[in-house]
């Protein structure tokens, strides 16, 4: 049978090209895989949810609490179907699983990107894959946000209101763009069908296409090799092949990981639609976006309001905080591979401590994001009495600059220390073992 298949499908070529792909043996290389597994589970749970979800914001009678015939209890069909999903056996858990996976996918992707950044794996020839990775991150974020809107509870309603406002704040074209994107003025009669289309067709399609490209390029270019590979066999690919060694490891990891997330879903509730209730004009106190968007939210909270007329368009604080500023941050992340001018292809993952400036810039960036995320808690901090309305902005602004600066210099200091210790070790080793010692400078 093998031969029969091979004659038709050229399995042996596939085997040589793809199935024997060598995977480096190091736990940090699993982060990308975890991201991929999350995507797969998201798609499966998403399909299951779509089977019971009703994408419409027209009002229907709440079958759980119909009210009276004179005064029926009307709620949007989408919200009603979310309640119905919750009432299905394991329905609530399915929703939570989908939700948890989305959060974990973004977290895993972020940590995966940190690995790439700190080990220099974005360098030539892998710049394209860094950029595709950035696009994946952006589209994953968009998919998550559209997913938030689908249950159409009050939280979703308030969120989509802000998203609409941000889109609308773009000078000149904002009004048109917001109406085109959200099916009319907020909240248009077709808003849920529109978002549904984005969330289950358009965005997942883009994500899958980008993921495919990401992995094909990765297979073509090979992983960066961990440092031990240099000592083992210089300039040779070292690792375990996809078939048969890596596959069981992957499967094991996927099952273990999914199992853990299922436990999360079973015991830790997320986004309780019943608590938020149907869309209403009652605000949700201290409403916040998910953690990965908290930095934008924080920026919006501390940028003072202003409005600037420019050639007939108006530039508002909202536009600057929610579009220009994140644009600059994301642009900087896009530009990372361009900071490296090396002509050589990179084979081996670099030791972060050998590149102190890059390492420190990376940690400072994380400090910056954390400080901004903290600013997202401004109302809570004021309420708790930690800050006052009068000083909140000033203190948070200072933190936004001081935290990254401190992180930067602390990192440089720690790296110096590590290198000094390492050099001392090397000298020791050289003294004690004479010619036996080998350089560990690049380990």
């Amino acid at each position: 049978m093998n031969q029969w298949l091979d004659e038709r499908l050229h399995i042996s070529r596939l085997n040589d090209k793809f199935l024997r792909k060598a995977f480096p043996v190091h736990h940090s290389f699993f982060l990308g895989e975890i991201t991929l597994f999350s995507l797969i589970v998201l798609i499966i749970t998403g399909i299951l949810l779509a089977l019971s979800y009703e994408p419409s914001n027209s009002l229907v009678t709440n079958s759980f609490d119909p009210g009276t015939s004179a005064k029926p209890n009307l709620i949007p069909a989408a919200y009603h179907s979310a309640l119905k999903i919750n009432a299905m056996p394991f329905g609530d858990m399915l929703r939570r699983l989908h939700h948890w996976m989305a959060n974990i996918m973004i977290a895993a992707a972020v940590i995966h990107m940190m690995r790439i950044y700190f080990t220099g794996a974005f360098k030539k020839p892998r710049e394209i894959n860094w950029w595709i990775g950035m696009l994946l991150l952006i589209f994953a974020g968009l998919t998550a946000v559209t997913g938030y809107i689908l249950p159409y509870d009050n939280y979703a309603y308030q969120t989509v209101g802000v998203v609409y406002a941000i889109t609308k704040s773009v000078p000149w074209v904002g009004d048109w763009a917001a109406q085109a994107a959200f099916a009319g003025q907020f909240p248009g009669a077709g808003i849920i069908p529109r978002i549904y289309g984005y969330h289950i067709m358009l965005l997942p399609g883009i994500l899958l296409a980008l993921t495919g490209a990401h992995m094909l390029i990765m297979i073509k270019q090979k992983h960066t090799q961990p440092q031990y590979a240099k000592r083992l066999a210089y300039k040779k690919i070292v690792g375990v092949p996809l078939i048969t060694q890596q596959t069981p490891i992957m499967l094991l990891l996927a099952l273990l990981f999914t199992g853990i997330v299922m436990l999360f879903a079973a015991f830790i509730p997320v986004h309780p639609v019943e608590v938020f209730g149907p869309p209403s004009s009652t605000p949700i106190p201290n409403i916040k976006p998910d953690w990965y968007l908290l930095w934008v939210f924080g920026a919006l909270a501390i940028i003072p309001g202003f409005d600037l007329e420019l050639l007939g368009g108006s530039i508002s604080a909202e536009f600057v905080g929610a579009m220009v500023f994140p644009g600059i941050v994301i642009g900087a992340m896009f530009a990372v591979p361009m900071l490296d001018r090396s002509k050589e292809n990179l084979y081996y993952a670099e030791n972060p401590t050998n590149h102190p400036v890059r390492l420190a810039a990376g940690t400072a960036f994380m400090g910056f994001m954390l400080a901004l995320s903290l600013a997202g808690y401004k109302p809570d901090l004021i309420e708790a009495g930690v800050l006052t309305t009068a000083n909140a902005n000033a203190i948070l602004w200072i933190l936004v600059f001081v935290v990254p600066a401190l992180t930067y210099f602390a990192t440089i200091g720690i790296v110096r220390l590590i290198r000094a210790l390492r050099e001392a070790d090397e000298r020791d080793a050289a003294v004690h073992s004479g010619q036996l010692g080998h350089s560990a400078a690049d380990d």
Binding site: V162, A183, G184, P283, I287, A301, P304, D307, K378
Partner: protein, 221 residues
């Protein structure tokens, strides 16, 4: 020179492919633009989508008392959220709750507290004031300030307003005051006497709001 130029068939083929790709891209972009054009639906003003206007009765927005007219005895330093209720073509009452910009916040203060720049003629006895309840920053609904009763706090980015001073911004990022709605008593009902006095959320310029109210008057008379 021209005599030596090589007539390479490969090159013409490449040229052809490039031109074909360019053409396809152009056609694709064009059709995408036309598809995008259809993405924005037309806006049709219905009574339920209209902003609060003269003659509208203010009714409770809270689900538990939805649609009941707001009474003076309901009011105080905690805001009462309300929708304007107008009439449709047949004269039947219709609650204008389809545009979130129309939602209102009503307060009642002890005499003498409400001051300029509030338009005192648009209040009831200088005590009851009504404002549009969408934050001028990003359109969240503005709630009570729990620490200082009588002030308003926006939950989204901690914008703060003082309804006693014409909805003035006293903290946070909002770029403009909340729009005041002129009201009067009509029997035991609270009734709007006109449009918002300044632009509500969603209109970047006063002129846009003026133009919109003109349009509303024309369509709904």
């Amino acid at each position: 020179m021209t005599r030596y130029r090589k007539q390479d068939p490969e090159l013409t083929r490449r040229k052809f492919i490039n031109a074909a790709m360019g053409g396809a891209a152009a056609v694709g972009t064009l059709s995408l633009v036309s598809a995008l054009g259809s993405a924005k639906p037309v806006f049709r003003l219905t009574p339920a989508l209209a902003p609060p206007m003269a003659g509208d009765v203010l009714v409770h927005a809270d689900p538990s008392r939805y649609g009941e007219p707001v009474k003076v005895s309901d009011l105080g330093l905690q805001l009462v959220r309300a929708w304007p209720q107008g009439k449709d073509k047949n004269g039947d009452p219709v609650i204008r709750d389809q545009d979130p910009t129309s939602v209102l916040a009503i307060f009642k203060y002890p005499a003498g507290q409400v001051q300029e720049p509030t338009d005192l003629n648009a209040t009831i006895d200088g005590q009851i004031v009504a404002y549009g309840d969408r934050c001028m920053h990003a359109g969240c609904n503005v709630g009570n300030n729990d620490q200082q009763p009588g002030l308003m706090n926006c939950p989204c980015h901690s914008g703060q307003y003082d309804p006693k001073l014409g909805g003035k911004v006293i903290g946070g990022p909002p770029p403009a005051p909340l729009p005041q709605l002129p009201i009067k008593m009509d029997g035991d009902k609270i009734v709007a006497t006109g449009f918002f006095l300044s632009r509500p959320y969603g209109y970047t310029k006063e002129e846009d709001w003026k133009a919109y109210t003109e349009q509303v008057k024309e369509v709904l008379g």
